[in-house]
Symmetry: C2
Subunit: 175 residues, 2 copies
Amino acid sequence: MGMFFNLQLNSLEDLLLVELNDLYSAEQQLCDALPEMMEAATSPLLKAAFKSHLQETQRQKSRLEQIFVDLGKPAKNITCQAMKGLIAEGSEIISAEGSDEVRDAALIGAAQRVEHYEIAGYGTARTFANQLGYDNVVRLLQMTLEEEAQTDKKLTQLAEENVNVHASQKFGSSS
Amino acid sequence: MGMFFNLQLNSLEDLLLVELNDLYSAEQQLCDALPEMMEAATSPLLKAAFKSHLQETQRQKSRLEQIFVDLGKPAKNITCQAMKGLIAEGSEIISAEGSDEVRDAALIGAAQRVEHYEIAGYGTARTFANQLGYDNVVRLLQMTLEEEAQTDKKLTQLAEENVNVHASQKFGSSS
């Protein structure tokens, strides 16, 4: 949601548009933030994951633009406050001092919070679009939702691998 | 994450503490925000869900306090920026004009974003605690994680029921 002054919620369509505008702002902010996260990551695998997620995020943003065209409602210029907070957290990690591996683990955690935000948002929007019978919108939202869930899964795998390496070093295991 | 100036990430334990402090601030902010969301909800079922989630959130906050005692590290006074943004979004909905049912649907969507934030945060913290061999911490985090997932599921059910009622009114169905 993003600072709609005098927010009007008269119909489910109003609410769907609020959710879509919120997600659009979220994707835009993420397109701006991911290059910095990519730069800050040390592990080549994590860098590659952020790079591929940036390309995916750009496609997801275009998909939302397509939805606004389909609905005949232009996107509004709002700022999703939650994504702003999520990205502020990512910036703190980027500028953190200490171990590269620990920072990588922290970056993965920040990215997973972002994915979960989007999963909740896209899931909510899809439910409303479905009830309104907007089949094409549902189809486009569902595509993004599946990609976000996949990204979250990939990040979990990277976290476990990264953490395993780190923990084995910490405890001096030879595994 | 919450405005740690000169964030130091030297070890996985440092990172676990950052995650736990972030979650602690998130739960505190949520304890303050849920009574207003409960007040704003129109559906008695949704009011009851927020009331029961407030009690649960207070228990989850106590569980984190127990973890800080176990680890011998006092909680820090930080503000989780992402939860601040999530709650700002909730406040916009609370003050929205229009249909009570549509506002209820919007409140559910806001609450689900909060749940997903917590699911990602607790999942990350649990992974780190597990790698550090802090079994009691893992057990406590896992309890909360399961409760959050359950709450998210309950909210999805409420959203579907609420939206179904609304959609049938909108389209004049007699179902």
